[in-house]
Symmetry: D2
Subunit: 340 residues, 4 copies
């Protein structure tokens, strides 16, 4: 059994990690930390787990937590995991970081994006960007994986087939929509029920901090700078990301050609499902990314959807763990969604 | 024109007051206060009013605010209005308090219910309980009205016809359901969108602080102690109270008799609508209370619904103002709801 | 492996059955029928199962479907399963009916309740009312189980500890609230999104057809006629039943005594969780019934919640199957809910 | 008083027309028709109007309905108004069509878009496209106005300032999101509450029938063919359209320049509000279109929101009526939205 620790277990991503790990047949959760809830029952915050675990939240003492751990998951806000991961003996314990601290490779870009300096630059370059469909081999050999979040996952899976074939020569427009759980368990006015229900809005236009991460990954795949316009919106639902991506190819294409491109790209990737009609409700509760493509002349529209807390966070982290430990990629993750 | 001031204009009730007063043909809003937003535009918080008012939030200086006011509305949390209302010259300026400070008549009951002592006992007995359908004459002659909130309004309108005829001799069960705006603009976990959407729960069973207010009013009408069980629930909607009330009469009755009782009781009350089927969506956005009755032997079930922020707060306050100033009761309040 | 057939697989209950059975470690789904979708893919209606099954809907030819089946689940509207179940060889194949046809024992009561006559009276008396927490032993030995639906399950689990101890001597008030999936996949105005979202209403007051079923079960347990008032409401959520039950005991009682009664009653029932705070979101996606009790003098309020499609339908059916086949009661059903 | 008739009063647009017209100070509603509800009370379908009108639905006998009418509003599905409008004496009675029959000017384009031929071509060219912010003068002098619907209104108001200045030389991407009321009162699976709540999807990509209408209007303004990509999405809310529009200018621009362009374009248009942050909740219940602009180099993103049933349907129709009858444009339409 893989002995797993969750650092930052009181948020929504942490809760999903605990839930999925508790039912993972090859994992034993040995500790969960939350500095603001030390000594309290996990089910006091995650009532859905009532009757399934007696674990209590522990202090975030990385040395102690890590002693017997085979893997530590970090589910902390931006800036909070870098100093803690430095304390882990990466030769002995693997780390999967679900926060953003190790996703951007350029320290200046990091500072511009997050507003503070990176303090673990020596291990920053070791970290592998943990989008399994793109980086499986590197993830397998890594002991520090920076698992991407919800917006980049849904966007990059829509664009990867084009970028790896150097087809993104014109402006890419990514129009993304998120549910309220993407903002986390922390109370904010925009996730206050009276304000969020029945509402829809765009936010952080031209300034969302996931844009650099998406662009960095596309640039690397494309081998040149990709012009990425990334727009995010809030919808009155709890879970789910829905992304509509618009690209313009150099040449005319057709539906068949683009579908073939996607099928070939993702043929050995069990968590990407090519469908005719993408909807959030089909992926909620699952680790799947559903994708559909639509073509007109040289224009391609790609719709993609994921559960932001699973394929966009906890599930993806576990998928990375499976790969890092040589397990089947899908183990512990093959839940279907519910209808309705 | 009646010169009106709103004290506590940054919450949802305050916002509704401003909205309704701005469009009231006999009112001019001369000032709105909010200590935490002094100098900011009202439309910065209540974006729905964009283009309709240039007013800024002012400090809660009651002396200054009240100088030219004909009426001051208080929309403050429990315990915050009593000391301020003491500063108003009630001979010159009428006060309508939408908070709970002047609703309970017994200072001990007040302390037990709210956990702190009343500090304006000298004017407590002057305050009239401002449920117009029950107390119209007293309201007309009063200069200090304690306007009841959402749960008591929907409950008391369901029970008034029985209490005034001394029919509440057995236990009364009031099962009430509220939308999230009833908890106000203050952020709480139970109104965090991810927690509230798709959820339903009961809360404060046998201990809700509106129970004493309902019981006090029924006891007075009934002329003896009424056994009141009052249970509140949270539903995943923004606006609306829906109350299902169960009473047991001494004798067998029938549908016709009970309908007649209600029609007679409310015949001159334009904001009570007797209907066959009560639903929240028909009253949202309005000052109406819709009521339906159902009879089986000696059992009567009454369903009633209101918009918690209008008939359960701001609209009721304005209805009280209309009565206090000798205006038609309905002026400025005859908005229909929307479908859907 | 138990070879299972689902008759009526295109509705929400059928879909949940398929989903849960596909992942049940001891079951193989050999056929699913839907007369209106013959030859179509199951995932065409239940898109959540994309990639998990290639099954097609078959015709409702019971003889053919039942030939190799160890168990047949019926998920059909009222009146549609009785004639079909008559065609099953109950000595060879077990039947679990999720519809109402075999729940009421009295043919006159059945006719009064459903408006048409029962046509399989010869097997009606053989059918066991399949609420496992009440009837486990009888279910184990039965080959025809009438699995109760969502309202009766949440109500009866709240009342069973009292009824089995003959404590229901006074009127019982059951105030129940349901999500929209309880009305099924068939389109209706009351489940039309614009009408249902943001709305709340009561319906079928004093006339809901689940009242006789609840009363029949309580009468039997109590050994005398119980006066049951049962009121149902629609809330703007998709899944979940929340029931607030009010009872009056002959004697004063207290919190401890009532909690003890519940713990004792349900000590060997893994799907009843006694909690301090019941909420729909903690049971959605699970087979659990969460229950909390509140006591004041001789009054007891019980709150209970279930997922209407799981513990209130498909999950309960599978729980019955587990018992009927001598399997551990919880196998294939131990899913936690999600937070949020 | 303007004597108004509503043809097609049982749908959501018809209901909003009735609601707004009943409270319009210069209008008297003399008749409302609905062929499927002849003789029934209007409040039987639009319960929000309880107590506000005694009108019954009448037969769609245009000759009879139109006899005393100064204006007839048509709120019928595609293809149903053209033959009826032909029966109106346009010299005597003005017509405002809220359906699509008179919006496309080219009969071939009409047939391609709607799948059937136009049968009133002789008056098709007389019809004025009733977007007041673009066409006020022509509307004033017209007796047949084709009032545009929700998607085109929110899109065209975002693009009008550019098109009238011939700036739309590159592909325009319109990414639009609608609430469920946009699909009308007719029951469909995609507006079934269990399917729609918590869900989000795109639909009719590259094939939505409002695209030709948007393109026709932009082409005319721009004076050349505009490349319009128009994508529609369903969100789990009842009311509201939110549109995110992406355009690429020939030259670099900046925030100030674009804001100035919008302010100038809309300076005399009271129902366009330029704001910093657009959200659906601020326009629901109103006739406003809120717009914000965001600029980066040569890229401009415009966000716009309207209430689909008001500015996107009934309210716009009344705005057109006000203009056609020489009334102030805003009369009867200056309702604010509600917060929350």
């Amino acid at each position: 059994m893989i002995k797993a620790v969750v650092v930052g277990g009181s948020g929504y991503v942490g809760g999903e990690l605990i839930r999925l790990l508790l039912f993972h047949p090859k994992v034993k959760v040995i500790a969960v930390s939350s500095n603001s809830n030390v000594g309290k029952k996990i089910v006091g915050i995650h009532a859905n787990l009532t009757g399934m675990t007696d674990l209590l939240f522990e202090k975030e003492d990385i040395k102690k937590l890590g002693k017997n751990a085979d893997v530590i998951f970090f589910a902390l806000p931006a800036g909070e995991s870098m100093s803690k991961i430095k304390q882990v003996n990466l030769k002995k314990t693997k780390v999967i970081d679900l926060g953003p601290d190790f996703r951007l490779k350029d320290k200046n870009l990091f500072k511009n994006t997050y507003g503070f300096s990176h303090t673990a630059i020596n291990i920053l370059t070791d970290a592998i960007y943990g989008l399994p469909e793109i980086n499986k081999k590197a993830i397998k050999n890594s002991s520090l994986v920076a698992s991407p979040g919800c917006f980049p996952t849904s966007s990059l899976l829509a664009l990867f087939p084009f970028a790896k074939n150097n087809l993104l020569t014109k402006t890419v427009i990514i129009n993304s929509v998120t549910g309220s759980s993407g903002s986390g368990i922390k109370l904010t006015l925009s996730t206050h029920h009276p304000e969020r229900a029945n509402n829809f809005m765009a936010y952080n236009i031209f300034s969302h901090r996931h844009q650099p991460e998406i662009k960095q990954t596309l640039d690397l795949l494309q081998g040149s700078s990709v012009d990425v316009v990334f727009t995010t919106h809030s919808a009155p639902m709890v879970r789910g990301i829905f992304t509509t991506t618009y690209i313009f190819l150099e040449k005319l294409t057709n539906q068949e050609e683009i579908e073939k491109l996607f099928h070939k790209t993702y043929e050995n990737n069990p968590f990407v499902r090519m469908v005719k009609h993408v909807q959030v409700s089909s992926v909620v509760g699952t680790n799947y990314c559903d994708i559909a493509v639509f073509v007109q002349e040289n224009k391609v529209i790609i719709t993609s959807a994921i559960d932001n807390l699973i394929k966009g966070a906890a599930g993806q982290g576990i998928q990375n763990m499976n790969i890092m430990f040589g397990l089947p990629e899908t183990i512990g993750l093959l839940y279907p969604g519910m209808h309705p």
